[in-house]
Symmetry: C2
Subunit: 240 residues, 2 copies
């Protein structure tokens, strides 16, 4: 609250931010292809050419929409994991704490209606299943180091679980969260539920037990190879 001396002193260099905010909202509502630069600039009440002037292209704008918030999100995830590993002092961190670090940070950001975090996380959730090549490449790069760290932590925490299996379950957890935070209810499953209004943390409280439950589920039986009868130990092993 320093700069605002006069009410609306004609926006200056905040044109960038206005574009980013408008783009974030419209991408969330209508997708990347479904949002034109004209929709963005008219919502942001800036000139059409300013998207290309400030960002170079629509693709670059899309990337900036993500970078703006993703950088903080993933730094925060690493910070929490760092602290957990510091507390553990060399010992493995409990699996549910690792999951809580990765997904909890995201869910808390999604619960933040004030600073646009909610809108962004809805967009991010949708974007996990975006077909566009350049977006997926970009996302994977942004996540690379975080994913590596969390993979390592989970491997260490679950030494008896096949690494493949851990990765698959990470994959499944990601899918469950992505769809949940996208806010889309494609099958109208939740229309009857009162949507836990004015309780931003509700989703996290409901989702986290589900994720942990999935992670800890008994391991699947190995594939029954027809050429040799594999003797599988019948009592299912717990994943952690």
């Amino acid at each position: 609250m320093v700069t605002t001396t006069v009410a609306e002193p004609r926006q200056q260099a905040d044109t960038r931010e206005r574009i980013l905010d408008a783009a974030e909202e419209l991408f969330t509502l209508y997708g990347f292809d479904g949002t034109s630069t004209r929709m963005i600039t008219s919502r942001a009440r800036v000139n059409l050419a300013s998207v290309n002037y400030h960002f170079g292209s629509k693709e670059a704008l899309i990337q900036e929409v993500f970078r703006r918030r993703l950088t903080w999100l993933n730094h925060e995830r690493l910070r929490v994991l760092d602290e957990l590993e510091r507390e553990a002092g060399g010992a493995p961190v409990k699996p549910h704490l690792i999951v809580e670090a990765f997904f909890g940070v995201a869910l808390r950001m999604a619960a933040d209606e004030q600073h646009g975090g909610h809108t962004f996380m809805r967009l991010l959730g949708r974007t996990y299943s975006e077909p566009s090549e350049f977006i997926r490449t970009f996302l994977a790069e942004e996540y690379e180091s975080v994913v590596e760290r969390f993979k390592a932590a989970l491997f260490k925490a679950l030494p008896d679980v096949p690494r493949e299996e851990i990765l698959w379950r990470f994959h499944f957890m990601l899918g469950a969260m992505a769809y949940a935070i996208s806010g889309i209810d494609a099958l109208k499953l939740l229309t009857d539920c009162q949507l836990d209004e004015n309780d931003p943390g509700a989703l996290a409280r409901r989702l986290m037990p589900f994720l942990i439950g999935g992670l800890r589920a008994p391991l699947p039986e190995p594939a029954a190879k027809p050429e040799k009868a594999v003797k599988a130990d019948k009592k299912p092993r717990q994943a952690d």
Copy 2:
């Protein structure tokens, strides 16, 4: 193998099918907005105008792409559920069997590389988080009766679990499966895994335990209302 007397006797009324097949593949690869009618018709090797001639519009084509396979999928789901309820003879069907009926049918279809089921299920998985209004409306209508039946079955199978909670977990399971069958690995988590090639059932064997584990997870603590200290029973209740 009845009609093909001469090799390629000039395609006739199978133009519809050729368009549907091409559209299915391209929608899966590039999304609805990212796929133009020209891409579709050139891949199908039919004339540009035939999309509008046979289907009326691109939107109608999209709907037909889904209807063509979704009708069978959901009929099959209901058939399996019918049989389960018949076997149970009035008693509640075991929750994991209900889940297996709903998701197992989908996963088996996704494992069918021969008849295009694989491509379609990838498309369907992606489409759950499609922002476009008319597609979501259409999907919800197609699923309405199936969802009602499975909701009822789960309510009956889990009488002690709050219905809201059941719906949320159905929602979470749906998200996990949708992302998994979409075949998209946005965070490149699974690049190190050998992708269980030539084992189409692998995904189901891995996913089902995860879903069941999530469904059976301990119920979340109720929201801590600040105005009154709610005494929550501390031992977490199992969901089934």
